[in-house]
Symmetry: C2
Subunit: 198 residues, 2 copies
């Protein structure tokens, strides 16, 4: 098995999950930018799925190989299908369809909620990377996108450095969202949260 199939599948899985979150947030905050990014990512996922099929067919040398590879192909198909569902949601935003008011309530009362928060002056979040902040571990909130001025960063990683005035789109639960708001609005410091894992 070439290393590339593994990497392709990791990317597909990450992208498909990011796309679902982005699509819901695009609808929630009526963001054409986020919706357009979902469409771009969907094209990428489709290409990656094609690559997985090609590489898998080349890798199969025996019946056992073929059986095991079936599961990989199926996971690739599932990721593509999840990506397509995300695209369908994003399409609604691009068509300009106004979501029913009930949708906002649905998003606010789900097990996992999506919130938008801007980093204010003096917040400790500014100038540090997501990895250094251990933001997901400390607050349970995963940043899925960042709006910086006119541009966007989608699917930031642990090396992404936050800046003052960044608007974060993040996913997690209510208690975590409160912590994130307090940190971003400089009403709380990392020391207040005080996790000793540094």
């Amino acid at each position: 098995m070439s290393k590339s199939v593994k990497d392709i599948l990791i990317e597909m899985k990450n992208l498909s999950e990011l796309m679902v979150d982005l699509a819901y947030s695009a609808l929630l905050f009526n963001s054409r930018d986020a919706a357009e990014e979902v469409i771009k990512l969907e094209n990428k996922v489709n290409r990656l799925n094609y690559e997985i099929k090609k590489e898998s067919l080349l890798a199969a040398r025996s019946v056992e190989d073929a059986e095991e590879l079936t599961a990989l192909l199926e996971v690739g198909e599932a990721a593509e299908s999840i990506a397509n569902s995300a695209k369908d949601i994003a399409d609604l935003v691009l068509k300009g369809i106004k979501p029913h008011p009930v949708f906002k309530m649905v998003m606010e009362e789900s097990d996992e909620i999506i919130v938008r928060v801007t980093i204010e002056e003096g917040s400790e979040l500014a100038g540090k990377s997501l990895g250094d902040l251990l933001l997901a571990t400390r607050t349970g909130m995963r940043v899925i996108a960042i709006r910086r001025g006119e541009s966007w960063i989608y699917g930031p990683d642990r090396n992404t450095v936050l800046a003052e005035k960044d608007t974060l789109i993040a996913k997690g639960n209510e208690a975590g969202a409160e912590l994130l708001f307090a940190l971003a609005k400089n009403e709380m410091t990392l020391e207040d949260i005080g996790c000793s894992i540094e």
Copy 2:
């Protein structure tokens, strides 16, 4: 708009997301139980989607209504389609297909990983509810299923009380997984993590 459409959609969204996590974990840990639960949940999601369609059709009174309701129907369809993708993955486990070794690597190197950990004697996790523990907020790890003896609890909520010997299936990032392992193995206490949010 009746309250029920909102509640149905929240349930569909929660279930479809749970199903994807459960399906991946079923494949990762070769768990027929988890795979069978995915199949059961898929039937439930299909029924819920039928209900949403019915309620939406009854609720539409004007062209504007109809346009807004379209978005709700589409979100319902997307959730059902995500649920179907999860079912396809679960089917592999039920068919007894052994996943390619690369799949385990994919799961271990994704942005969000799924881990399995058993609560050992003396761990502070035992006897407390997920809500009281603020586990997701403190560690970033979301418990998606709990194996207790021969039975399973799927999609536990904040009122679910953990017990010694429970095996948790949880999703989050690597740093969070380390914290969860340390808590479950009684190598660390909640005070060590020391979040001041209590």
